[in-house]
Symmetry: D4
């Protein structure tokens, strides 16, 4: 993510990956303040065996797109809710990538962070039956939780 | 996609997949007009060996999210440019998924369709060195093309 | 509605229906987390004698449209105010339905929930003179309340 | 509708109602230029046996809401696509009604007009089995049409 | 204004008119809940000697436009800040009037209310030198106040 | 207006004023390219006997507000439809004036230009019975025109 | 800036300039309430040796553009976050200047104010090696700060 | 600029610089397709004696911000009008930079490109009296052109 101020949002991704037992690393990499780190991080990602990068950023959110420009492994972008424009700037800066360099974009804020992690799990589950089973169980538990919801009397 | 009127947009995905030699099927599945097909398509996707679904839709674009609700394989959503709102409705309907069911969203229109395909290639390339090489070559060719661009004199 | 977190909004519909003595049931049905329930609920609605379904949802709000895809009884959609985009995503996801499958959409938030209920009352009142009279009385009382408003001195 | 310039949009409603054999009248009633007609039209609607009013308008679209303020029969609003703002003004002017006076709102433009008619059919079908059957057949034909769509080779 | 809940906004107009000694009346007139009062109020305005009407409303704000449809005296509209959309709906519902029926629109919220009053003063000052002088003095005092502002040390 | 490219929009105001026999002058005054003219024009307006200024501008539309800052006579602003943002920038630049300096704002584009003229007529008609009668006749003719509209058969 | 209420935002520019030892003056100049001061301030800026003007304003933010119309020295605009529209109006009013009169625009709010100052430093640093070095050091410190950020355990 | 398809917009900057006799180079540098070139271009800019960089880009427009992250010389950003969102995405992606790395942003499209060049001229003119004179003459000619505009008779 671009700053430790994005952590309250992005930790939802970390929590989800941990829940699935998927190993991950959490790093602050700022597109604008640490561009060299961004470049080396992306350039070395495949060689280090990373299977995907989840990148959260707000405002003029360039981190996901620039990571994607420097690696061919899947980049998942999370628009962090910004102060003035509530993440509309973050969303458009991440999702409107030009033809040729994709960034998979998720919802603004915490829901998007959690879903980016779930999507990464789904990608990995394609070749990992045990993980696929965990994902199916997670989905079933989620369904059961909704089915068990009770509404108060009016 | 939700209608054959989405084909001019979505064929960019098909063309890209064909270019990479990735087998795919192209189907019209309408969330609102063929909901049962949507459900059976999504429910059978994993069993039929599909590794991902690219779903394009416009306006109140429910196709990608509903496919995602019925399968655990990765769903990639492409907002088709709509007539009145230029795809702002399509984008928000696809990307703002609630926590628990992710849809990886790409840019509005043809760029998004092509990028969804490229992202699918990147996912598959994680376990397929030959495809990874093709993707790297594609990216290099794309870079070379930009480097070769000439601007006219003013 | 799609989650019990929508209840603070949607209870305005329940309160209104109760006030008019119109029997109703309140259920949590999530388009994305309980799609099978959504389908069976909609498919059985007509047979169970339901005359209309009021569906509230937020963000990528697919519940009303997908219910409408599986039943021919009138579906009334209420956009729940979302966190980042204040319900603009909910509104567009519900109202911008394609030709062929209508969802009657109401205002974002509590006013929309109450109005969906009032609209359902108006539909039923077409064939129910007693209910029509109740509705007329409600409207008159509402008018009287405005007429009785007093503004403080400046 | 508010002007004969809205007819290209609103005729989609008329065509649909005619297709279902539902009797209707089409009138130009302008909220701003013929307010007295608007008032008398709405006030007399119930007495004349109208079961619903479909009202289309663009820009500062006050017609549907003001009709609703003067009658208790269901009012269905269609936002006509406006020149500068593509119907965003029309949509918000129609859908954001205050608590107490509902307007059932449909999509911007022709799709919304057709859907308002389909929704009116669905309302009437609640008490009319023959019409309900026609609606079911229409929906089935619509589904069949999508199922028969063929995509060209890439 | 459309409801006593608009008073916190609209009282800024009343305060301003009082400051200038311009006689006025403050009334709650709801377009949707008291349409008959709206009509009679507008129809009688000229005869009662009113020189202008300042109308504030929020959401689907039809009050100013409908007043304007029933009178030829100048109508000044104030978009009240709405809950979900912050007055964007109010603004578009008031300002986007069709050719033929003008509503002079001011800023969203309290600034707009105060300015509507100042504009009414300016209109009346055209034929009232004493009022014109008061307005000039008000403007000068306002200028002096800005000129006297001091910023703290950094 | 700010440029002769605004004339296709603003001539609707001139045509309307001419129709009512209200004397006017049409000038190009650019806030940004002729600021001194803007200042002198506004400063001399009252002394020259102008009763109102209609100012049209597009994009970062500063003309109406700056005129208003230099005169106490009523300023009527018309947002000209801009190329990229369709006049949304023009509208907000004109209408969102701070407390203290009002600009009466009308719809984006030609409708707004015509309505600004009609509003000026209404202001002048307050003290001019003959003009008031003309305005009433104009409104009646407009009503009659709508009443005479015929819709084609479906 | 246009009002002392903009100071909480604009002081970020002052703090930054002070940090770099760049001399500056902070003034309240309101486009609408002190237009003459605005004009004289801009007209005299070059003669007084000012190298740039940083202007912050909110809502219908005319200050930066009007300063730019009266001087040829660089004007830097900062959109202050407004109450109803969160600075969307401020941003468009500042950035959408017509061809011929540029205003360099920065982000909405405090970040934009700080960045306007940094940009002014960068301009001055072009001819001032010592300042250039300070700027480079600032940037390095900023980078180091990000590199030192630690995230908590999940 | 990010692609030769941006040239129709960006040539307005080149034409303007040429008109002022300011030497410049025009290059295609794509943030996403030639990130290494972007980095080396920015890193070497100061050493090569560049005084400013004008960068135009559309959609998820990362070029200006990433150049700014790698150099301390002033970066001027031009949002190119995009297909679906008319440059709203480009504008927000460029202007909403985080505190610490400024990008001076100009209007969407050709006006912005020309103005970025004019702003660069103004920066250079701070230390170049001849250029300052040229700029003053350009501005005077521009003013004269507006003053000479004639409107047709109505």
């Amino acid at each position: 993510m671009g700053s430790d101020s994005d952590w309250p949002t992005m930790q939802a991704a970390a929590v989800m990956l941990k829940e699935f037992g998927v190993p991950f690393e959490a790093r602050v990499v700022s597109a604008h303040r640490t561009p060299d780190l961004l470049f080396s991080y992306a350039a070395e990602a495949a060689g280090r065996g990373l299977k995907a990068i989840i990148a959260g950023a707000g405002g003029a959110a360039h981190l996901p797109g620039m990571l994607a420009s420097k690696t061919t492994i899947p980049v998942l972008g999370v628009p962090v809710q910004s102060k003035a424009l509530s993440g509309q700037d973050s969303l458009l800066s991440i999702v409107q990538m030009p033809k040729g360099i994709p960034v998979a974009t998720f919802a603004i804020g915490e829901a998007g962070a959690a879903n980016a992690a779930l999507f990464a799990v789904a990608m990995l589950a394609n070749g990992d039956p045990a993980l696929a089973q965990k994902l199916a169980a997670f989905r079933q538990a989620q369904t059961d939780k909704v089915l068990a919801m009770k509404l108060p009397e009016v």
